[in-house]
């Protein structure tokens, strides 16, 4: 299936079914790449579990889990080349880690140390956006600047189903299409915006079908199928790199856990529904397929798990260290050079400490 076909926006692209069987008529995925992706899925799942545990222990204030969405997280990060940019939301910690950012630096924001724990310019990963859809416009700007400078950078812009209701989603899609910007809009349709279900966000035939109104291709893909996601996102990235403009990709997936630890999902959805989606787990189908073709066995599985455990141990250790906050930082970064008023306020705060010490 080509992503330029109009029915791609409504039909769902699949490569591996829930049992890990190859879907009829699809090309067999490359086992080596899929195994590498599986390793990332195992890491992503482990990171989601570890972050959840750190919240329960009081080490993190909050964690919006992407459990059940790990295939989306891994595929969007691995579809990019080194010079490309990723624009994540607050639920995309696993994608940022899959892009190569130290998970300790990703999660330190949720520990309350600062608003962003990694250097976005160095990693080409924007700070995690908490307002909805606003970052999509920044993604278009980065992409447009790259095009003006003659660079072949591609920008992967993430959002959820709820964000597609925001005005900035519309403006970003429209700007990107008009300027033929090299952006891939990747919507993880996980069915809920906190408690509000998809049906209250949109009655469009699919979220991907919104692309038609902007004059760009839209594709709906099984969001729990790493093989399908890698194929579709890879094609969308290459299309953008060739100068063919943006693509809207909708992943059909599910937020298995509550919005955050502070949310009670039993108030707005049934356990039957959650169980049904848990049965479509993105890890088990890849593992079943890889075992079926002889690319994965217990030894490799154990090695991946041990790797992931080591990563989790480093995360526990890294986030267990409490760095005393520096009050000077309140004033240091507001402007390139602090204003006279901020210098005075910093001195006044220092004066309070001096009094306390005396």
């Amino acid at each position: 299936m080509s992503i330029d076909q109009l029915d791609a926006a409504v039909a769902t692209v699949r490569v591996l079914d829930e049992a890990g069987e190859l879907v009829d008529g699809t090309e067999r995925p490359d086992s080596t790449a899929l195994l590498a992706g599986y390793r990332q899925l195992v890491h992503g799942r482990r990171l989601n579990e570890q972050a959840g545990a750190l919240v329960r222990q009081g080490r993190l204030a909050v964690y919006p889990s992407s459990r059940g969405q790990e295939a989306c997280q891994v595929a969007c990060a691995t579809a990019l080349s080194e010079g490309d940019w990723l624009f994540p939301t607050y639920r995309d910690a696993v994608a940022i880690a899959a892009r190569g950012v130290d998970p300790v630096d990703v999660l330190s924001m949720l520990k309350g140390d600062w608003h962003c724990g990694y250097d976005p310019a160095r990693h080409r990963v924007a700070p995690q956006a908490t307002p909805l859809a606003t970052q999509l416009l920044h993604a278009v700007g980065v992409a447009h600047a790259a095009r003006l400078k003659g660079e072949d950078t591609v920008v992967m812009a993430l959002c959820g189903d709820g964000a597609t209701s925001e005005g900035d989603f519309h403006e970003a899609c429209n700007f990107a299409a008009v300027f033929a910007s090299p952006v891939v809009f990747f919507v993880q349709n996980n069915k809920y915006a906190i408690s509000v279900p998809l049906a209250r966000q949109s009655v469009a035939p699919s979220l991907a079908s919104k692309a038609v109104g902007y004059g760009m291709p839209g594709v709906r893909v099984d969001g729990n199928d790493l093989g399908a996601l890698s194929t579709v996102l890879g094609e969308a990235v290459e299309r953008a790199r060739r100068g063919c403009g943006p693509t809207l990709v909708e992943a059909d997936t599910y937020r298995v856990e509550a919005h955050t630890n502070a949310d009670d999902a039993t108030r707005y959805r049934t356990t039957d529904e959650v169980d049904e989606w848990a049965g479509r787990d993105p890890l088990t189908r890849v593992s079943a397929y890889l075992r079926g073709v002889g690319a994965l066995d217990d030894d490799i599985e154990a090695e991946f798990a041990a790797d992931a455990d080591r990563m989790a141990a480093r995360v526990r250790e890294g986030l267990g260290v409490d760095v005393a906050p520096d009050p000077d930082e309140l004033f240091a970064h507001v402007y390139a050079t602090p204003t006279q008023q901020l210098v005075q306020q910093r001195a006044a705060l220092q004066g309070e400490f001096d009094v306390e010490e005396a």
């Binding site: 962003c116 416009l137 278009v140 600047a145 700007f175 008009v178 970064h333 507001v334 006279q340």
Partner: protein
């Protein structure tokens, strides 16, 4: 080298000179391309610099500002135009939540050197949504630099400085002066952001104004002089950063101050100036600081705006109330 030009032409010159000096400066917005902007401020930029350097966008202000933020992240220096003050409000979330905060959010690793040009304030008989004085919204938002030129030389110099600034700048253009002619000395233009100007020295009282209110304050001082009262005028130029030193030096010299601004006075920049002057100069003051501002109303319809806008009579009435009798 001086030249006679309008404020619109002075701003156009600043854009041209900045675009010539630095390839990363790009100009975009609504109607800024072949048309040259509804006020002709960007006239000729597309034909002279090409469509990649000055271009029209879809009609969406959040999109314009959000895209500019992204371009600034990727090494450009965008200068965007909001067509009118009240049409900038759809971009408010981008301005407040991202443009203002990005440098702080990233501990200074990713600053956004961009300029948001906003034709602002009234006095042109414009219909609703075309005459707002929106400076308080921006001045209240930490991380933004906010400037408002009152004359053509400063219009040029402040825009050059705004484009060179590492921080995002809201550049407020007093639209009623777009077509005021003035001698401009581009070479001598002092391009410091954060420095107020003493527009007129005076012994008896200090008028503090910015943007379109500066010429009104100067006219009031002229009128007062004929009545034997010597009023000074401070032109803030830069609302953020605020130049406490220049303002306070003048007020300490005269002991009396009136703040003049078009915006409604409640929770306004004028209120902030009055509070600062009171805090810093209390022992030098002969009278409470007065504010002469617009009323606390939505901007009026064209036939009513002259009731709303501070004029020389209202300024001089306020000056009269600065407890002169106690001096006798």
């Amino acid at each position: 080298m001086t030249a006679k030009m309008t404020m619109a032409q002075a701003i156009n010159s600043a854009l041209r000179d900045a675009m010539t000096a630095d390839d990363s400066v790009v100009v975009f917005g609504e109607d800024v391309g072949p048309l040259g902007g509804v006020f002709r401020v960007t006239e000729g930029l597309t034909s002279d610099f090409g469509e990649d350097r000055c271009f029209d966008t879809p009609l969406a202000e959040s999109g314009i500002v959000g895209m500019a933020a992204g371009m600034a992240m990727n090494g450009m220096r965008p200068v965007v135009e909001m067509q009118f003050d009240a049409f900038a409000y759809p971009a408010f979330e981008q301005v407040v939540s991202h443009v203002a905060k990005f440098g702080n959010r990233t501990r200074g690793t990713l600053r956004l050197p961009m300029v948001i040009r906003i034709p602002y304030a009234g006095g042109i008989g414009g219909v609703e949504h075309h005459c707002d004085s929106s400076e308080a919204y921006y001045a209240h938002t930490a991380g933004l630099t906010v400037v408002a030129p009152a004359n053509n030389t400063d219009a040029y110099a402040l825009l050059r400085a705004a484009i060179e600034s590492p921080d995002p700048v809201v550049y407020l253009e007093p639209k009623r002066h777009y077509f005021s002619n003035d001698e401009v000395d581009l070479a001598a233009a002092d391009s410091t952001i954060g420095r107020a100007a003493v527009a007129r020295k005076g012994r008896d009282a200090t008028l503090i104004a910015y943007g379109p209110s500066v010429p009104v304050a100067l006219a009031a001082a002229e009128e007062a002089a004929t009545e034997g009262r010597d009023l000074g005028v401070v032109d803030l130029r830069s609302i953020v950063p605020f130049d406490d030193d220049t303002v306070c030096e003048q007020v300490k010299h005269t002991g009396r101050a009136v703040v003049v601004a078009e915006a409604p006075g409640f929770a306004s920049v004028a209120s902030e100036v009055a509070a600062r002057v009171t805090e810093h100069c209390f022992h030098y003051l002969e009278a409470p600081v007065r504010r002469v501002t617009g009323f606390d109303i939505p901007y009026p319809a064209p036939k009513l705006e002259h009731f709303h806008l501070p004029d020389t009579a209202r300024i001089l009435d306020a000056v009269d109330e600065l407890q002169w009798e106690e001096q006798l």
